[in-house]
Symmetry: C2
Subunit: 452 residues, 2 copies
């Protein structure tokens, strides 16, 4: 057995913190936590037992707690908020950026939220409301409002003076946004250009006009794709009339990409990526039960199909032994097509123009593999039960089931996508219901016809 | 039925380009392609039929072709390289950054690569070799060598003059890297600080020293986690003696995150994310056949287990009708645990300190759901076959199988992880083999004992 892989940084932190917590060396835990970024703390907290979280939470520096809450998954976040006094909460969150604060609004107790709002000036409150007026999963929900804007008429010299006077630049600012007097978006001035050109030039001469602004209602996943494809660090967000509302930065886009990826993996197993890995057993059991219940319906449908052929099976028990093979091969083949198509749809690489080509291609693959594995399995089954007829029956059933599986695997996600249902969540259940039913009906049905 | 969702930008491009290609309006295709970024072009090309790709490829501006190749998945990239004359290839790739060129090295024909190397100066060739000496999936393989370094002794004024003289700054530069005369990494000077401080200050006074440099051999996924957790745009890469080798930028990290996500979804279905969605049917069929073959072995194992109980089933055909329920419920419950644990391992949130707690929790959930669904299914089965004994048998089998499934779902990925096998690829197959076998053995075995 190879050596145990070395621990990475977060594993080492996790190890140390758990150990020190166990030894009740809280001072040392505080020291370790002080060296960590909020996202790192959040990451470790998700991996701690709830009882350890409660002990370690007050040890975090109060100015890091707000950002740590933002980075946590919803469930752990709510748990920690539950441990915290209202005044400490207000302290923790009041210095957050608007987009981050907006993410917390649903989870904060009303009293805390009221105090935070009262502590804000009018402009900040308006800005927060602007972020809150957009869905969380759109550009408007992702944007923060701490933009650095400049006018096109001024010279670079003036810009330099302005920045020095300001004394700081918001995090992840790679360009200044150029707007007119009515706040209409005109273009951007990358810091790289600002730094490499003659100070006497005007912003208007140097600014880049062909950087598309992002409409506030653009879905988050399309925002992410734009950042990925254009290698952006930040991008301006505008309303319908082209006025600047704020900007989106790459750190939030990375979170979108990670969440999307998490969601697509977790939802295939009927899990929710915002839930706590260490949620109480009874709660977790209840949640999982829903998915098991849905799948039980599928299994009962399949069982009732088999039930129709009770007499056929009585005549030939070999059928009962072999029938799971037909269903399972169909399920596997269909899942391959399904996975490919769900991914293509998510990346917008499958559209009206190529959907038919793809369905045709998948059908051909299904039929080819159907024929190939039919021959293999037919030979095995024929020899096993010393009965070539059984081989012929299972072979025919496999060809039909793998072809149907390919068709279903390709078309189900397209249909679900069109009616607005997440194919990653529902696709697998529907597909295996079909491949089970078709598998059992064809194999047992053909046998029934033969044995009649 | 709801309205068809509106097409997003890439879908519109895909639609237009496919249509114009069909009409042979190549001039218009050229115009559309000219408006697109290389990553967008790559995205569309992956979604085109191979015959359309061959027609559209020469229409791309030659200075965009290199970057487009970098962005494509391996298979489509090789296909397009196959369409291209050596001299055009050399033209396309010779202006690429070192990290991008390094990604292409394996796919370029030798003649082209030789010409590219000959066209480089000594320094560039050495830098490329430095990138190539590291595994593609490490910091060293991700880095590019176009770093902007400054000395700690100079004043900001000197830095400004240097940048203006240089006339340009590499893409995605958010900070200048401070090194000593021996190229040892000392710290970074963020452009944001440079722009907001007095020009007479020294770099040494202002630079940030506590930004960790990234060791060249750090695995790519840990690089990605560091960028995510610390909201980095770029980070310096160093060798073992602390000398600066290059830097990693967020665009490449985003690609790592996307690829990882893709990989974890696709590998669960035995698919490779670097393969072409429109690969030839026979090639695709062959690739898929491997996965079907592995799963056939699983199915045959399950079938042979059922075969052991042939006589039991003969006595009571209801067993054959109900047995898939036991296996499938176990598979579903186990997959939930498996998915949760694979994700926790990938995020380094499961380590030695909490693995046992998690296994215990999953076992409890499995047992609880086992009992709950055992009662439900036992009632249904008892009523269905008007035989309470059948209910008792399936109930006991479900409790055992769901508990085993939880244990297997939690421990299999941990064991695979420890021996260095990708749990996303192999975990599912092993798990369902176990849940099938245990499901059939317990249900049919208990029935055999009862019917003896």
């Amino acid at each position: 057995m190879p050596a145990i892989p070395p621990m990475d940084k977060s594993e080492r932190y996790l190890h140390k913190i758990t150990k020190r917590l166990g030894q009740r060396k809280l001072g040392q835990v505080t020291k370790i936590l002080r060296k960590m970024h909020p996202a790192e703390i959040a990451h470790i907290f998700e991996a701690l037992k709830p009882s350890d979280r409660e002990i370690a939470w007050p040890l975090i520096d109060s100015d890091l707690r707000g950002e740590t809450l933002v980075e946590l998954n919803e469930e752990v976040r709510r748990e920690l908020i539950g441990f915290t006094k209202t005044e400490d909460l207000v302290d923790a969150v009041e210095s957050l950026e608007n987009d981050d604060l907006a993410d917390l609004v649903d989870d904060l107790p009303e009293a805390a939220m009221r105090q935070v709002l009262e502590s804000m000036d009018n402009q900040d409150r308006q800005r927060l409301e602007s972020v809150l007026s957009y869905d969380e999963h759109t550009a408007g929900g992702l944007m923060n409002t701490d933009t650095l804007t400049i006018s096109p008429q001024v010279s670079l010299n003036v810009v330099f003076r302005y920045l020095r006077m300001r004394g700081e630049i918001p995090d992840l600012t790679d360009s200044l946004i150029v707007v007119d007097r009515e706040d209409a978006y005109l273009g951007v001035l990358p810091l790289a250009l600002l730094l490499t050109h003659d100070e006497t030039m005007n912003v208007a001469e140097l600014m880049i006009r062909d950087i598309d602004s992002i409409p506030a209602d653009l879905p988050a996943n399309e925002v992410a794709m734009r950042f990925e494809q254009q290698d952006l660090v930040s991008a301006p967000v505008v309303n319908e009339s082209g006025q600047l509302l704020g900007r989106i930065t790459i750190d939030d886009v990375v979170d979108v990409i990670r969440d999307e990826a998490d969601h697509s993996v977790m939802s295939r197993a009927g899990l929710d990526e915002e839930q706590d890995m260490f949620a109480p057993v009874t709660l977790s059991a209840k949640r999982r039960a829903v998915w098991l219940g849905i799948n039980l319906v599928t299994a009962l449908v399949a069982a009732s199909i088999i039930g129709l052929f009770e007499q056929t099976i009585e005549k030939m028990v070999a059928l009962a032994i072999l029938m799971p093979i037909v269903a399972s091969m169909g399920g596997i083949a269909g899942t391959q097509t399904l996975t490919l198509v769900i991914r293509g749809l998510a990346l917008h690489q499958i559209g009206r123009t190529n959907a038919l080509v793809l369905v045709g291609k998948e059908l051909a693959i299904g039929a080819l593999n159907g024929i190939f594995w039919a021959l293999m399995v037919a030979t095995i089954a024929g020899l096993w039960f010393n009965n070539p007829i059984i081989g012929v029956l299972i072979g025919c059933a496999l060809i039909i089931n793998l072809t149907v599986a390919a068709f279903a695997g390709a078309t189900i996600p397209m249909l679900l996508h069109r009616v607005g249902v997440d194919p990653a969540l529902a696709g697998g259940v529907i597909l295996t219901t079909i491949t089970d039913v078709v598998g059992f009906v064809t194999f047992l049905g053909l046998a029934a016809l033969y044995l009649r």
